[in-house]
Symmetry: D2
Subunit: 377 residues, 4 copies
């Protein structure tokens, strides 16, 4: 009978994918000597209220071009417990075994799932999830600290836990922040963005995070065929080891990547943009009101959406332009007057409306190029 | 503490889909007074070696436009048993509760999983899967019969169970067929097609089946964005109740629908084609060698691929033409001679290379139209 | 030598499409006993400043599922005249010969191209475009009237012809309207929508129009692969003959169809919506706060975007929901209280934000269904 | 009146694209110190029997990621001549003015259009097309030679010019080849591939070419939304100047790129493959029959389709695998025996079925990696 099982095991494993498995890389450039890792630190499986076996999470991550994920099943909310033997380390362990095969970093985590305050907290980089199952949430947090976890506040604006419909930071959170325990905050969870959380992240020096909180198969939830995408955290780390990622999280080297938006510190957004974009020329020579084009190449997958803020009085420039992801677009320049002559350094300032450095402030960039004007004949 | 759980349950359930859930209907016409149901009778979940929670199977089916599924977890191969409490009825029951909400028929089944012969058999429409877990496969089959199951042979050409690399029907199968126990056979399993199984289905009057045998999330396995599709069985039934489906299966009212191919009895293929196709005109009037077009509308999603077999000597017709799914295409007709005159009934015979009525025989159709020829001026 | 040319002609014509030519129908239901024709009445070719041969316009129209087009080359702006022999009827005639083969109605038109006022006017259903080439625009208009043309005002909000940046109706337009000469107005031109023109159409009883004003190959301009679409006029006519279309235009039986928006009289918008949508059930029975779903099928290609205006106090309904084109979606209903009992007729009012009956007013619809409440056990 | 025209001209030009114009680069790596240029040397416009204005050809080329095109209108077949003033240099000149704006190289050409033999010949890099319009084709060829043209044979297997249905090289062609006049041959024209032409190219040292021979708007003919693509010639040149391209053509530095196939000399195919592909590791350590994966990254857009020819007896390798374009795929390796031990250099030979170095010979590649075997515990 044992042989029978072994035989079946073998044939199943060898047949599990008749279809090609392919990974599509996420095109965001590396910056500042760091790798730009694409990560999702909030993920569920059948071991709490999710709907997939943990291996699927590593497989999905590999296919989508992610580098690291954290499995964070609820400790307190386990609706499948009638059918699943509750061992809180299992989901991370199972996911990790598949992640190891595919070179995906799988970080052990748990969601400490309580009413507000403090609401839901994720503890990641833990050693033993079982020990976090305590009566009082304070004890769970203390245990996470003991295990050197990185702790962040999940979906602070989640409707179900709002007080009188309003997002709010409680004394409990301030206390955890002041004691150096609560280090990160989800500015984006699922498909929701919380501007207040972004504000707090800046004010309290919290690590900015964006996670999917996915329960279903990822592509049952996000329609990849229509270019929907998982909410992700970009992490700037030396490599994709757990240590390097933890170092990046502790030092706030992260950016939100959500629905074609990048949000976070200008320190990281600026080099992402600069490393994404290149020009075919920076000198233009005009005769009369003839239009000239600068070809602008975007090596990232992000569609950068620009809006003109200010510019030289000599030329007409696009009021709005999108530098489409993985495309080359035309930046049109035309002299305002047909009898202009001489040389000029043109400076144009644009804001990028999908790169936010504060909830209400877009990153600005300057375009510089030389223009030589010759009067029309 | 109970209230806490209830609260969480409520909010989770109410938030589980921030994204729109949408069903795309599968466009195959109804025929002969029956509904054309789109079904998949071979599906796994975490309760055996699958990777999703059973509810996902009903959700996937609803999204893809299926009408009925059967959950058929292995009785003998349960690699997750360290983590899952093995109760063999659970996966069908859980899937059914979600199916009921979405009006998807979920049929209780089990895969009797043995070495060859008889290999793997699915018993569906059973009452109690636990009773099918027996030492001898003959006892499992007998119990299935007792429960009035419909039993079919799974993937008869599965590589792992071939004898010297060859697909083969064993005396055990013949015996089951002769005793009226084995009633169906998978002609398609997963992405594999077995012509021999098609041959046997015709020879032994077995119900032709095509099933996905899906283990992973469906759209992790099939790339819907690139128009891949789940292997399916079309069932011609009075409605989508279990009774009506069972009646159709027992009476062999099924057709394989696999990778843009329809395979089965001409009795069903012909009305599917006839109900899919319409013409804008059937009378053409020519002057000289002028080309005329018949616009052909295909109301189904199937791309019908036609190849000319024989035709009138008066006109040139397309050697090959595809009636694209949900499109209108042009059927070009041109007189061979410029000085032809008079009227003629044109008959053209085409074979449809993706409609198979035998493993080596395509269905043929006749096009009839009237032509009036006028000499070129 | 003549034979040589004939031979070549023959072989070219017979080989012009090795690729399949396919038409995709535009899915908008017929209403009120009329056909819903999909039309574009403002189109250019190489005979003025366009970039394609006129036959291409009929071919494009056929492929995209249009029923009728009008070729409206400029009379006064013909930048290719160094290379093209200017005969103003040619482009319509050439397009029509190809349209006839494909059963596309091609209407002869001209664009009377002047500075503002009156700006650009299209005259369609004309007999002889050459006669419209006059020194004074008033004479061109008079000739068009003589030829029984239908005349409409093109892109009234076109930036290049605005006075101090503002869209404006001039006395010349009012005069033409009062004399019954100017009968239609482009509320949408190219990808631009002019709310003021919509306002004027309602005030002056003008026929509402939406046209592409296309100069380039249509799918060089609109990215069909990313679901962009040509701006179109829906025309409600007895059939697709010129006469029937003219009758519809004169009697204002039109609706704008532009970027997933329908704009025009409620008289036409309401039956379009009603004929697009069907429900699987209208009676719901609840136990406690259990969620129930009505499956809503949208037989049109339009994504209807609904927003809740008012509803019963007994149930929670979606605040926002999109009835996706050619899909079935779930309309969730849940009792607000778990101990409710009895029956109730539920009425919910939604506005459809992409169906405009005035520039600032969306069409509203009512959903009615019966609810039976049973207290939770 | 002049001012009026100027005004209109200005506003038209400034409004011609409200939509974004974007270029998608064709991902094929540079090789051997050359740029890999993507070219199409056989293109028509309204000036012969094509259907677009010449500017469109430069615009289309820019959008699709081409580097250079040649406009080659027929000299002898000009069905639009009733409407177009025939000047044979105009189409290239008009296309070139738009190409210059977009940095697309537009080469002046003509199609010498005769019955077979010699059939149709393209002469490109000419100075004056008018002079090629002669009574005898020999005179046209002589004039092209005088203008230092590069001359190639178009669609040698074109059905309309076959003798008894068979493709054939005539004495006239041999003569032109021997005299160093006919230097290239279309191995692919439109969507047709001629193996015989490939054979002749190898035998007679002709430059291998693949061109679209496009008459319609490119994306009316090829359905880009369904991943169809224009037939193209890859040219390995120092830069994209006319001189550099001519040098490459004369020296046969070209490869066919047609429907995901690359065909030509191994000298160029091999570095294209080598520069497309990278591996994450080349050393594998096994325990028992455990499967290990090498992640293979394909930086080109080509789907390379590999088939196993021979391999080591120690491991199972994929029989078939596709290195998908712009994806990473998994190359599975598994020891055949569970008790194997020791180290081994594994060599596997694959043929790439879509890289042809002869009509009947695929290019082969070798995979080398180190394996360390440890017996299963």
């Amino acid at each position: 009978m044992k042989n029978f099982i072994v035989l079946i095991l073998f044939v199943f494993v060898s047949n599990i994918y008749l279809q090609t498995r392919a990974r599509t890389e996420i095109q965001i450039p590396d910056i500042l000597g760091y790798k730009t890792l694409k990560c999702d630190f909030h993920i569920h499986t059948v071991f709490s209220d999710g709907n997939v076996w943990p291996t699927v999470r590593a497989e999905e991550a590999w296919r989508e071009g992610l580098d690291a994920i954290s499995i964070t099943d609820h400790l307190e909310y386990t609706p499948h417990k009638e059918d699943i033997n509750l061992r809180y380390n299992r989901s991370s362990e199972i996911a990790k075994s598949h992640g190891d095969e595919l070179d995906i970093t799988v970080i052990k985590g748990s969601e400490i799932t309580r009413s507000m305050p403090p609401g839901h907290l994720n503890a990641i980089f833990i050693n033993d999830a079982d020990k976090l199952k305590t009566d009082k949430w304070q004890d769970a947090v203390a245990e996470a600290v003991k295990q050197n976890a990185f702790i962040f506040w999940n979906h602070p604006g989640w409707k179900a836990q709002l007080k009188e419909g309003k997002i709010k930071m409680y004394p409990e959170h301030i206390d955890l922040i002041e004691r150096g325990i609560l280090k990160g905050i989800e500015v984006v969870n699922d498909v929701d963005y919380y501007p207040e959380a972004f504000e707090w992240a800046l004010k309290y020096d919290l690590t900015i995070m964006s996670n999917s909180d996915i329960h279903d198969p990822i592509n049952l939830y996000f329609n990849f065929a229509e270019h929907e995408q998982r909410s992700k955290t970009l992490v700037f780390a030396k490599d994709k080891s757990e240590e390097a990622i933890k170092d990046a999280l502790i030092n706030q080297r992260t950016v939100v990547y959500w629905k074609n938006n990048l949000m976070g510190s200008e320190k990281y957004l600026r080099p992402i943009f600069d490393n994404s974009i290149s020009f075919d020329k920076q000198e233009l020579s005009f005769t009369g009101r003839q239009t000239k084009f600068i070809q602008i190449k975007n090596n990232s997958e992000v569609d950068y959406k620009l809006k003109l803020v200010s510019s030289s009085q000599s030329v007409d420039l696009p009021e709005e332009i999108t530098f489409k992801g993985n495309k080359i677009v035309l930046f049109e320049v035309r002299p305002k007057k047909k009898d202009q002559s001489g040389k000029e350094k043109i400076k144009a300032v644009y804001e990028i409306i999908n790169m936010k450095i504060k909830p209400d402030e877009n990153m600005k960039i300057e375009f510089l190029f030389s223009a030589e004007f010759n009067p029309a004949k």
